[in-house]
Amino acid sequence: MMKKGIFLLIAPLLVGILLIPAFSQEDMEVVDNGSFLKKQRPPVVFRHDEHNETAQLEDCIECHHVYEDGEKLDDESSEEQSCSECHDEKGSGNILGLKKAFHSNCKGCHLEQKKGPIMCGKCHVR
């Protein structure tokens, strides 16, 4: 009886501990694709910290940018926002659609740096 009680107390705690990393950016495994109405490809495998360490990226605004009048701002970043707050699925004017924004941010940089995956299935892993 006592054992069962302890288990009942610990179980939710364990679940909680297991869930924390699933929601924290440190161990993020795939890019959130919740904003796409039609999900046509598997979400992109992406481990935030591991990626930045390998890529030797220290500046958040490399990806989490803020644009004003078509210019990227040097001193403002957008980590607090989700990409889809500016980039809707279609895009408008200067603002790229969400898919294109992801592709140009990731693949564009990989092409420039000649490092990192550029083939479809290397990010959209089945």
Partner: protein, 219 residues
């Protein structure tokens, strides 16, 4: 891999399309020049009405006697040609790449539908292969080039299917997929795949002769 991928998906695509379009224009103009030199008299009975009538007739499933005599071949051939042409043009991955390069995009097939269409093309290729191997009439007129052509057509779809599912070596297969597509494009004007260009002209010619001269059906 970056360099190789960029090469096959960049300059080689340009080269393939230049040869494909240039080759098609070359074949068409040389045909017209040849007609002009040798068979000018066909202009006297070429008719838009009978030409189009024949093209429409032969583009409609089961609208000709020959199609009704070979129902299975008719279904396979129509399914094959429709899927062969539409799938690569309206495939999500292809349109995405064009969009990234040229800022141009158009409607795409749902992935599930595209998958089925690729399978139809592959199954049809298997059907054509078996037909060549077992059907005596077809066997009699088959040479090695027929198998090579069939392989050229099947390759982009087989590799495309494997790449879509990421089975076996993804990177190598993707490169092979792009290369095989380029080989097929280049082969179109210079092999019997040129029926893509000439079939409508052949039909227009036959239709005109049967309609305007013989006053008979050509189906």
């Amino acid at each position: 891999m970056h360099t190789l991928y960029n090469f096959v998906s960049g300059p080689l695509v340009w080269l393939a399309f230049i040869i494909f379009i240039g080759g098609c224009l070359y074949r068409l103009t040389s045909l017209i020049i040849l007609v002009h030199k040798k068979e000018k008299f066909i202009y006297s009975y070429m008719s838009l009405k009978y030409g189009l009538r024949s093209i429409v007739r032969w583009s409609t499933p089961f609208a000709t006697e020959n199609m009704r005599r070979h129902p299975v071949l008719t279904i396979v051939a129509f399914g094959f040609h429709i899927c062969l042409i539409l799938t690569p043009i309206f495939l999500l991955a292809h349109v995405t790449l064009v969009d990234e390069s040229w800022n141009l995009s158009w409607w795409t097939l749902p992935e599930g539908v595209a998958e089925i269409m690729i399978l139809i093309v592959i199954a049809a290729c298997v059907f054509f292969l078996v037909r060549r191997l077992v059907n005596p009439e077809v066997q009699y007129v088959t040479t090695a080039s027929d198998y090579i052509l069939l392989a050229i057509v099947a390759a982009p779809f087989i590799t495309g299917f494997l790449v879509y599912y990421q089975w076996f070596g993804y990177q190598t297969l993707l490169i092979l997929h792009i290369l095989s597509g380029e080989v097929m494009l280049v082969a179109i004007p210079f092999t019997r795949l040129s029926h893509m260009l000439f079939a409508p002209l052949t039909r227009a010619y036959m239709g005109s002769e049967f309609g305007g001269v013989r006053h008979a059906k050509d189906w």
